[in-house]
């Protein structure tokens, strides 16, 4: 939580000229002018692929539209399908600063937006008093107070960081875990792309950040928030895509091992487990097997490394009932 440079700070006293979300005029410029990346969804797919993120057509189109229409992208899907890592990949391809806001119940503006650095302010008061005592000059109370609420005493939290950086990608992770109060507050910040600090004035983003929200559906997110977003349900990848993802993420793993892991992971997803393994687990598993020196998947190795892919005792039991050999069998 360092302080952020204030180069891109635009302090606006008036409430005009704020680009409102979803009000696209005819003079619209895309979220990111970095050229070829946002030309077509296909170009974005290729750019993401070069960072090791292999998106399917739907996801790439959704992300591309989010950039072009300047809408937040609202992603849902099983755990481990790559919702969070998409934000990181988008930041990488657009050369943006990635800001992550992990939500939890009770999250409030002092943790999400900004906070004053009280200890430093107090020190500042004491230091000026001390200097005045030594120098014998009179301290002007008004000036002193003015100097207390300077930008350097403001600690930027994720939302403010995203507004102050240009360009930036803001990842609001697991929005469903925050409470209604926070949702209403977030809606306000997103639709204005600006915040008002009472003691300091209004801080407006030079260019609204690209916003990616993820949710695990533990509760219904308010419709007002969803209405402003583009919605996409992220699916598990196809077998071919998953092999490609494993190969891209773990170049050191043999092709044979990647295929074995992708095949078995797919079968595990069909087994009706408490927690079906996602792509993240498949990557962990392939990495673990590789660390164990595997070049292909043997039943004994699979049994030894099952903890990388199954996270519940009941799931492990169920898979052992099924006998790993059957799972490992070739198609």
């Amino acid at each position: 939580m360092g302080s952020v440079d204030s180069r891109s700070l635009a302090l606006v006293g008036r409430l005009d000229s704020v680009p409102r979300l979803g009000r696209t005029g005819s003079h619209v410029t895309a979220w990111c002018d970095s050229g070829r990346v946002t030309e077509t969804p296909t170009a974005l797919t290729d750019a993401l692929a070069s960072t090791g993120y292999l998106a399917d057509e739907g996801l790439a189109t959704a992300a591309w539209l989010a950039m072009r229409l300047r809408r937040p992208l609202f992603l849902e899907g099983d755990a481990g399908v790559g919702k969070t890592s998409l934000a990181a990949a988008l930041a990488e391809v657009t050369g943006s600063w990635l800001v992550r806001l992990q939500c939890y119940e009770g999250l409030d503006s002092t943790q999400a937006l900004y906070d004053w650095d009280f200890p430093r302010q107090l020190l500042h008061v004491r230091a000026i008093e001390a200097a005045a005592t030594v120098g014998g000059e009179r301290v002007d109370a008004g000036e002193l107070e003015e100097s207390l609420y300077d930008r350097r005493f403001l600690v930027a939290r994720p939302l403010l960081q995203a507004l102050e950086h240009d360009p930036s990608v803001l990842l609001v992770d697991e929005i469903d875990r925050a409470d209604d109060e926070f949702e209403a507050f977030l809606l306000e910040v997103l639709s204005e792309s600006a915040i008002t600090v009472p003691e300091l004035g209004r801080i407006t983003a030079a260019r609204p950040p690209l916003v990616v929200l993820t949710s695990n559906r533990t509760r219904e997110v308010h419709d007002a928030l969803k209405r402003r977003c583009l919605y996409h349900w992220v699916e598990h990848p196809s077998y071919e895509r998953e092999v490609a993802i494993l190969r891209a993420r773990l170049p050191e793993v043999t092709a044979r091992l990647a295929e074995d892991v992708a095949r078995v992971t797919r079968r595990l997803r069909e087994l009706d487990l408490l927690k079906p393994p996602g792509v993240a687990e498949a990557i962990d598993w392939a990495g673990a097997l590789h660390a164990l020196g595997a070049r292909e998947l043997h039943p004994d190795l699979a049994a030894a490394s099952l903890g990388a892919v199954l996270k519940y005792r009941e799931d492990g039991d169920r898979v052992r009932e099924h006998t790993l050999a059957a799972l490992l069998a070739e198609d």
């Binding site: 539209l65 302010q121 008061v125 008093e129 969803k226």
Partner: protein, 372 residues
């Protein structure tokens, strides 16, 4: 670049599609449709899949919308409709409210027979009558009384704070006071945790054997949702799981129940509690809906499926939920013993078993839900 907006004909085709979606039950509001038009314009459509994705990311809002969307898309664009063709109307058959419970309902004009000045003693008699054996007039009276119940779960401690005279020191507030007073230590500001309503989840069995009680129980669920719309969830279980929370949020009980009944595909079918519970836990419960919640199951425990599966799922539920209350309408009857296979499998994981066959019993349910 120009802000591509699809030309007029294309726009009409897309608006027609949005209308079809609305009739099929997807909330394609004008605002969303506007976004879809923008998206299609941006994509400078080259293929059907562009239209498909542009529509899907803008018009859908949850996974349940996706199958509907796919079907509507195939029907509308696959059937080669000429632009401007009228939308396919899929008006759902409007069910009457008296579909629940016993047939021959308010609809037969018994309203006039209800004595508006119901005396206290007759209410007292009605309170203990079994819902299954009421005359239409008595049922109408019962509905009025059910609407007065206040079922809600006890509060829980929230992570948010509120100012208070006791509790932990609120450092930011204290320091702000210090700054105002130029660094002189005055009184300490304190704060303590706020309280928030705990989540309440109702799982209502709508299979054939529960038919006489469905109306009263769904009305009870409606009252609960109206009381705490943000923290109450209602699902019906039968042969499958259906979430009817949204439908029950409407103010008018009859409208809400009609909407709910339209959403339930498995009225009066068999019972597969184990499978339905598993679907609930997989899709909702484990992700958070049941975590630290008060869960009430309204069922007689007639399980046609595998009772072991039901036991396993109840065990899972009991590990997630704060309390599990089982409401069995037969419990209030003479000689009841919870011996159906489903009941026996579930009982080890139930914190409280209460009856739900009469108004008085429903009052006990309210008390059971409110216990800490």
């Amino acid at each position: 670049m120009t802000l591509g907006s699809p030309d007029r004909d294309a726009t009409e085709v897309l608006l027609g599609f949005a209308r079809v979606l609305r009739h099929a039950g997807v909330d394609a509001s004008p605002e969303r449709v506007q976004t879809m038009l923008e998206a299609v314009g941006e994509l400078r459509v080259t293929s059907a899949s562009d239209v498909y994705w542009a529509g899907r990311v803008t018009l859908c809002a949850e996974p349940d919308d996706l199958p509907t969307y796919d079907e509507a898309f195939a029907t509308y664009f696959g059937a080669d409709l000429a632009p401007g063709d009228s939308a396919i109307r899929q008006a759902a058959p409007r069910r009457e409210t008296h579909l629940f419970g016993v047939d021959g309902d308010l609809a037969d004009g018994d309203e006039s027979e209800v004595d508006e000045t119901t005396t206290a003693s007759s209410v007292e008699v009605l309170r203990h009558r079994d819902v299954a054996h009421l005359s239409p007039a008595e049922r109408a009276e019962l509905r009025r009384l059910v609407a007065l119940l206040q079922p809600f779960a006890p509060d829980r401690v929230s992570r948010r704070n509120r100012p208070s005279h006791r509790g932990r020191v609120d450092v930011p507030r204290t320091v702000r006071r210090l700054l105002r007073s130029g660094g002189e230590v005055g009184t300490l500001g304190r704060h303590t945790h706020r309280r928030k309503p705990r989540r309440l989840v109702l799982l209502v069995d709508v299979s054939g054997s529960m038919r006489p009680y469905s109306d009263a129980l769904l009305r009870f669920a409606h009252v609960a949702v109206r009381l705490r719309p943000a923290t109450t969830e209602v699902f019906t279980v039968g042969t499958r799981l259906t979430r009817i929370t949204r439908e029950l949020r409407q103010r008018d009980p009859d409208e809400a129940l009609a909407a709910g009944s339209r959403a339930i595909p498995d009225w009066s079918g068999g019972t597969r509690l184990g499978e339905a519970f598993k679907a609930f836990l997989d899709r909702w419960g484990q992700r958070g809906t049941a975590r630290q919640a008060v869960v009430a199951v309204f069922s007689d425990g007639w399980e046609r499926g595998d009772a072991d599966l039901l036991g396993e799922q109840m065990h899972r539920l009991s590990r997630l939920a704060r309390r599990v209350v089982w409401v069995n309408p037969h419990k209030g009857k003479e000689g009841f013993a919870p011996l159906t296979a489903g009941m026996v499998a579930a009982l080890p994981y139930v914190d409280e078993l209460v009856a739900g066959h009469s108004l008085a019993a429903l009052e006990q349910v309210v008390a059971a839900l409110g216990r800490r």
